[in-house]
Structure formats: C-alpha cells, structure tokens
Symmetry: C2
Subunit: 588 residues, 2 copies
Amino acid sequence: MKLKRTHTCGELTLSEVGKMVVVSGWVDNWRDHGGVFFIDLRDRYGKIQVVFSPEKGDLYEKSKKLRSEFVVSVRGKVQKRPEEAINPELPTGEIEIYAEELEVHNTSKTPPFELKDYVDVSEDLRLKYRYLDLRRTKLQKTLILRHQVAQLTRQFFSGENFLEIETPFLTKSTPEGARDFLVPSRLHPGKFYALPQSPQTYKQILMVSGFDRYFQIVKCFRDEDLRKDRQPEFTQIDVEMSFVEEEDVMNIVEKFMKFLFKEALNIELKTPFPRLTYQESLDRFGTDKPDTRFGLELREVTSIFKNTDFKIFKSVVEAGGYIGTLVVPEAVGYSRKELDELNKWLISMGAGGLAHIKFTNNTFEGGISKFLSGHEGEALKKELGLTQDAMIFVVADKRKEFAQTMLGFLRNHLGEKLNLIPGDVHHLHWTTEFPLLEFSEEENRYVARHHPFTSVKEEDMHLIDSEPHKVRARAYDLIYNGNEIAGGSIRIHKREMQEKVFQLLKMTPEEAREKFGFLMDAFEYGAPPHGGIAFGFDRLVMLLAKAASIRDVIAFPKTASAVGLMEQTPSEVDETQLKELHLKILKE
Amino acid sequence: MKLKRTHTCGELTLSEVGKMVVVSGWVDNWRDHGGVFFIDLRDRYGKIQVVFSPEKGDLYEKSKKLRSEFVVSVRGKVQKRPEEAINPELPTGEIEIYAEELEVHNTSKTPPFELKDYVDVSEDLRLKYRYLDLRRTKLQKTLILRHQVAQLTRQFFSGENFLEIETPFLTKSTPEGARDFLVPSRLHPGKFYALPQSPQTYKQILMVSGFDRYFQIVKCFRDEDLRKDRQPEFTQIDVEMSFVEEEDVMNIVEKFMKFLFKEALNIELKTPFPRLTYQESLDRFGTDKPDTRFGLELREVTSIFKNTDFKIFKSVVEAGGYIGTLVVPEAVGYSRKELDELNKWLISMGAGGLAHIKFTNNTFEGGISKFLSGHEGEALKKELGLTQDAMIFVVADKRKEFAQTMLGFLRNHLGEKLNLIPGDVHHLHWTTEFPLLEFSEEENRYVARHHPFTSVKEEDMHLIDSEPHKVRARAYDLIYNGNEIAGGSIRIHKREMQEKVFQLLKMTPEEAREKFGFLMDAFEYGAPPHGGIAFGFDRLVMLLAKAASIRDVIAFPKTASAVGLMEQTPSEVDETQLKELHLKILKE
C-alpha cells in the first residue's frame, strides 16, 4: 500500500478545502464528462466525488479504466465544487477531491445485481453473493444499528451491576419443546453434546452461585422446521436476577427499554408500561400479544343470544361457548364481494365462518340481521354502544379461546387493511398471568407454556392437583406494537416444587433426574428466589430498524431450509471425520 | 418474598447507622455467643454481621436454626459495633445489623467442601458442584474481572469505530490444522455443519463488504486431544481492519492494551511495544514467545568450535549445526546431582543432552572443560564476555532451531527456578516476520504456520517457488510475559495469490474451490487490502487475574477430556433423535 488513508469518504466538508488528503474505498459510480473523469468513492462512512483532470496525463489515462466496485485509494486536494455542481443531498456535496495520485488495490467483475437499496433480484441470489449484498447502504445501516443496540444493552446492564457471564455452547441434550442440534463427541463414542436452546439452566445455576445479576447477549439454537422469520441460530438478550419478584424484573426492563429507545432512536417512552393479564388480553384483543396501537376491541355478546332461535348461535350458547363481535365503522361500506372474501380468509385461518350485520341509520340489515329478534337488536345496540354506522362482525364457537383468537386475527387484518394503525407510534406493554400449562393434543399431556422452570402464583397453588389447567404462572411477556419481544418469569427455586412440575408434565422421576438432576441438586444447597427474562434480539433489532425480514438484521443468515448459500453449508464431510466420530450415515 | 432488599451486604457503613434496612444473602458463618446469635451474611458485594438478640423471642429462636449457606433476608437497624468488636478487615466492619425480622428463603445441605478460597479438594469435585465452587470469593472476583475486561474491550473498539458483527456458528467444515466439531443436519440428510474454529473467513468477507473495522468477542471450537490448559470451546477477541498494514494493526492493539491495563488494573504500559523478528527471537531466547522480563539470553558459539577435537561438537559443526550457550552466574554452585537432574529433564523435553562448564576464578572446570583447548577457552571468554563466576550450559545439535528451542526451554526453567523473573512486571512485545510455512513431517507437506490466508512479505515473493520455506509472512504475535496472547496477519486479498498459497499447501484446485471458493470469488469483486488479529480471551483474562488455570476464568469449563461434570455432558441421546438425523452409532 503506497497511499495511507487520512480521511473517510463521509467526513470531508468545506473546512478541509485546500488540504491534501487520502481517501480509500469503492468506485460507486463513474462518469466520463467530456475530458474530465469523475468517480464517486464510497466507504462505510459516506461518499465523496473525485475529479481526474486531463492535465494530469498518465493519472488521467489510468483513472479512465476505473469501473464500479474497483477498490482504490486517491491522494488529492480538497476543493470547493462549482456552485452548479453542489449536491445538497450528500454531506460531502459541497466539495470534491482533485486527484493527484491513484492506487488501485483491486479490480472487480461486474456484480450480478445492482448494489442499490431496492434491489429487484431473488433473495437467494443476494444471499449467495452476500459480500456484495452487504455493501448496500441500507443493510450496512441496519448492522450498524444492531451494533449500537448491542453496545447500549451492555452499557445499560453493566451500569445496573449485571455481570455478563458466558455460558457453554457444548451443553446437554434435554429436548423439551423444540429439537436440539446435536454435536457428536469424538472422545466419548456414542455420546453427544447439544447446542443450547437457551442458557436457562446455566443462568439459574449462576443465581444459585450468588452472582445476583446476570446478563448475556448470546446465540441460541433450535432445530425447527423453519418458518418464514425463524433462523436455526438466533441471538438472545438473556437476563436473570436474584431476590426479585415480577415487579422488579419489569422495572429494570422498562428502564432498559426507555434507555434504549432514547439512545438508539431518540424516542421517549413513558414508563411504567401498561399491564394486561392474559385473560384480559384475550377478552379484549383475541391474542396474548395484542397490537395496542389501535382500538377495535372484541366485545362478547354471548348472553344476548341466550334464547336465540338462530340455530348456529343456539348450539354454541348451549355448549357453553362464546359469541363475540368487532364493531368496525370503517367497514360499513364493504361490498358483498369484500365480505365474502373476508369470510373465506377467516375460514382459511381455521374459523368455522364469519358472520356480519350492517348497522346503518339505527337499523340492522344484511348478513344475519334476519335472525335478530327486536329484543336482541336492542340489547346489541346497548351492549355495543352503537351510535354510528358500522359493520358488525360476529364469530361464534364452542371453544371460547378459539373464537377469540379468530376475532384477534380479524382485528389485526382489518387494522392493517383499513389503515387504523398509526405510524411512528411505539406501544409497549406487558402481558401477565399466563396459564402455567397448556394441553398438547399431539402429545396427549400438559406441556409448559413458557418452560418447566416457571413458578406458580401463590394463590393458585391449591389448584395444582385438581385443576392444573387453571393454574396461573408467574410469567410475563413484553409486547411491542403487537410483537412479543421478550418473555420471562419468576423461577422455581425449591426441589419439591420443581419435581411437582416435572410430574405434571408427565416426566418420570428418572427422566427428571437424568436431565435436570444437577439443577434440582443445586436447589438443595441454598438457591435464592430468582427470576428473569429473555429478549429475541434479532426481532428487536428488526423492529427498531423497520427491516422487512429478520434476515436483513443478520450478517450471514440461513435460508428457510437452514442452508448457508454463500459458503454452501451444510456440506458433506470426509469419511475419516465420520469414522473418528464413530458414526455412519443411514441411507433412506 | 416478604422482605425486599434495600441494600447489598457490601455497601453499609457508619453513615447508615440508625437506618432500617433489608439485606439478602447466604449465611457465611454463624456463632452462638452465649445468648446472642450472630451470622455473617454474604452476597456478591460483601459480608455483613447480623445480630439476633434473645430480647426478640421467636425471632431469636428462629435464628438459632440458621446454618451455613441458608439463604435469608433480614430486616433490621444498622448499629455501630462496640469498639472491641470492630473488624478492620471488612468494609462493613464498623457496623452490624440488629435483626427485627427474618425470612428464610431456602435451607442448605452441608456443602461437600468448604467454600474458602484455598480448597483442598479434587478439581473434579469442585467442577461437579460448580454452583458451590462459584460461590468462592476468588472465582467470583475472577469472573467479575472477566466481565470488566469484556466490557472495556467493547468500549474501546466501539470508540474506535469498530463494529461488533455476529458471525455464524453453524458454518462449513474446512478442517485445516485442528479437527472441527460437526453438527449433523436433519433437514439435509448426510450433510453437516461445523462449529467455527474461528470467524476468519467471515470477517474477511465483512472487509470485502466494506465494513472497514470489525471486532467480536466470540466463542470458537476445536476438537483437539485436550492439553492441560485448552478447552474445546474458547473465547476470542477477533479484530479485522481494511486499508491497513502491519503497523496499523499493531498501533490499534497497543492503544487497546494500554487502555485495558490502565482501566482494568491501573497499570501504565509504555507504547510502542518492542518488536522482535522471529529470527532474532529464536537467536536470543530460543522461542518465538520469549519471556522478556529477564535476560539470560542465548549465545551462539558454533564458530569457536570449528576445529574442535571433541567428537560430539565436531559432528554438529560439520553438519552445519548449532552450538549455543546459556551463561548462568546464579547456577555456579550447582551440585553434580542438580546438574544431572537438569540434564535428565532436558532430555525428557527431547534434547540429546545438556553439557556444562563451570567458570570460576577465571578458569574452566568440570563438565566438558577437558575438551576445551586453550585457544577455544580464550575465545569463549571473549565471546561470552565472562567476567564473573558462572555455570555455562551448552546445547549442540545439527538442527539449529531445535537446539535453540531446547536452550529456550532451559532458559525458562532456570528463570523460574532461580527466581530471575521479577514479580508485578508487565512486558508486552511483538514477534514479527514469521516463516509463512512449516514442514509437517506427519503430513509430508508444508502447512501454514498461521493460517492459509496470511499474505507474504513483498520482498520474499521471489522465493515462493524456489525456496518456500524461506518466505516470511506478514504475521505478528503479541507476547505478554512469555505468553502468546494474540496473533494476526495482513491477509491475502487477491484470488491468484490465494490460489498460489493453497497450491503450496498441496491443496488441489478442486479442494480449494470446494472449501474456500466463496472467499476467492469474493476477492474478484473488489476486495480491499485488510488485516487483523485475534486474542485468546480466556488466556488474557487468566493472566490479568493471575489465575492458576484457564478453568478458573470460565464459569462452566470442561475437564481435560471435554466432559461437563456438573450437567453430565456429553450424554447419550434418544434413538428417535438419531433417526431424525439419519445417523447410526458404530460400535467399536
């Protein structure tokens, strides 16, 4: 390297005019303007115009061979641009560099796609040439924001006396929920490590060890059949505290969010965040992670139909089911076609169907209005507080939570379609008091709704044997504009209670000991009350960056089938490697 | 939890006397002092004495059941201790808490070993009960230092415009040097991911993408037959920069070290650090990572013996070998037994033998002195500048570097044994100009001394085909008190050069394309000159903490055979898990 960089391409302004500088970067653009050759030189920090004048003879001839994405250093004098050439959109737009010397570090083939911010090529092609895709300003800005969020997170938690402690990646396979990625051991034939789905047990052990306040920004792994916005490896902000209750964890998290939004985005959040119980959240929004940026709340009307003649509602009422509505003034003008499509869409989401009633000029019409008795109509008006024209959507089902969930889907769908969601609004709230368990039809047993280390609300303890499904957990989720960005709980810290929960999950005592014996043993040597939370870091950054996909906030993401297209992984390995691992591949 | 903590056990002083406080922690100690019950309560922040008085009736009776490692919260009033009870060794030693209320969160069985700083139990037992071992103040302090070093590292590099960018853990298997840990893919039967041995190729790709300055504190993995102070997973501070040469990387690293030593340990380092070439380092110290805290340098005396009659030396000289000495005044009194033992020890390290000559009263005696001609003796005195009595140790071997290495071992051994190494001295220096290649007898080919992405010194380029072993790399190691704590290089950034090096390493073009095709492709789209360095983070912390073992700076380390004794990993997995991975275990 002959030329040593003195400035980045983003920092030069009028105040450097007359200075000799060296800048280094990529040719973003070149223009042969009748005898003068221009390039825009680009680096991570910005862009700057460089002028090669024919007065410079050889240098000029050399410059004319420059093409897009060549890597060069240029020595030259900073000069003011002529008035008419000023580019007000560029921070360096008032100046340019008059080149005196050029060093070409590398040439470039023509990239397979343009490195503009809105590229119209398949994502697969972008992922294959990720080194080029990552040159796009938008992706660079997103990764810079990710860096900032990570550093701010560490700054905040360190400042609050949390210690970042690294937990192992070669851990023990304890599949509960998702599948583990396994790592065969060479030194111990037939045995395996597992990559951690989360550092849960280790962070609890750290509390037993007295570290009091722990955090970590850490990779976790789940071998799932991938959904659109999931990755086999993902990053978590993991937090755990001792001698705390729900409020303590929530308080520190609220302080963290306030700090992060302010420092990263200059947004002021108001704390404390609202708290909604799981039950209230379902009743009002049909989901445990409602988008609270807009109203359009669910209203139950089951009791109004207790004597209905309308067969479908009647059977729902008789089965102890649920009838709920969404009142949507903005949809009052919906055509039959639009209503049909909405009905079909909700059926595709699993619903039995979507009923509607149009309310105009204080009268019900269309849809199922013909089944409404006068008495029922009056009750409906009163219950729903109908004062303006509106479309009333109705879902009825024997399964209350299911019907609410369908209305929740509809609510989100309409919220978006009807532009009810205000832009640039940041709603954070907590969902609390989750059920401890949910019944898995697939496994024919209760599974833990959060994870099996979640403790039980004191006042529900008496239900644990008789009505376990009614037991509420000391769990909480943090919701941001309708997205779950963090979830946590107060943990169990006594052996008997942990054994009890394993038993509810139909784990045999042997299995429990085999998998989590070390944790239960640890509880017998002075485990403090403790609790914590974990943030989905990728999703958090995606939301803060307003990125379209989680893959846009990860430098080297995998595809939906867990393939690394750039480096081509997974790949076949040598026979000797397998032999050393005592493994054989089964052909199908 | 009835009692909510108001203060930690380390922060109360005289200025809180009279205040009602709640502290939470572990019973470190209890004493039944004739009617008054005392405990020392311990948390991460310190210890404080709590007094339970019989005046308190029930509370007193309850307190008497407290035992070591019980977890409690205590509400009480801070009071000044009586003059004679003041403990000047404790920051809280002037006060105590007069208990008003006690909440027992958990009891504890008697720990299997005492939680003192110097425990005399097997490391295996400590690792099995790691949750107890980690309660020891010393280990807690070490992990707190580790946290601080990590945060300072991030603070420093962020401040210098480096971006922390996460690279993947599910990468591609490209074993070169150490073995990879493999991760079978479920979605792609017969294919595997590999855990990264380092993020080397990804960080180079980030440079090609224009991120300019990258760092990461990141876990890396090597499936080695473990040596004493190695772990299968270890942490690295990984750094890469664009548009740089050796000096630029060294400068930023020196600035970093200066900052870190000052902030973490309040030690002032002087920069720049001395630079020693690989050759000079071997010639003077017999190693590429010399401990420069003491002298005792090697002196070559081959030419003095060019006409010797002493058969052993004669054959070495004739074979173009090397004869070197260490002159050790402190060892002049060594007995025959001590000299014999030293000889045996060096033979156990691989040497042919260790010769000696005693120099006293300006005369040579003992050892091989009888083979010295008068002329040779005079030359030796002159060459070695002998002015005081000393033992002269001599090693001769046909292989120069081997003989130097043996003298290097001896130098370190004697340095320690003879207390020549000053305490509390911090020597950092660079070793530069490493050979690019070294010949592997085992593989019968050249292997990369650093890694195959290291670029070649311009002035040695002409030797690359004719005398590749003479080619020097643009590589550098950072040495701290005789320990290599970081190593790096300026990288290759052109396809042809990279292909050339792969070829020297006897990689076929197909193999090179298969393994590193994406990197070489990337070099064709405008790769900038770049270079970097990586620190062994665990070792760095170990040295800063003056810890005895690398396992003492890792929260949950593995044993030398890569076993996690606490959680019992690796372990057997379900047949269904293996089936899903299309794998079968081969029985031996």
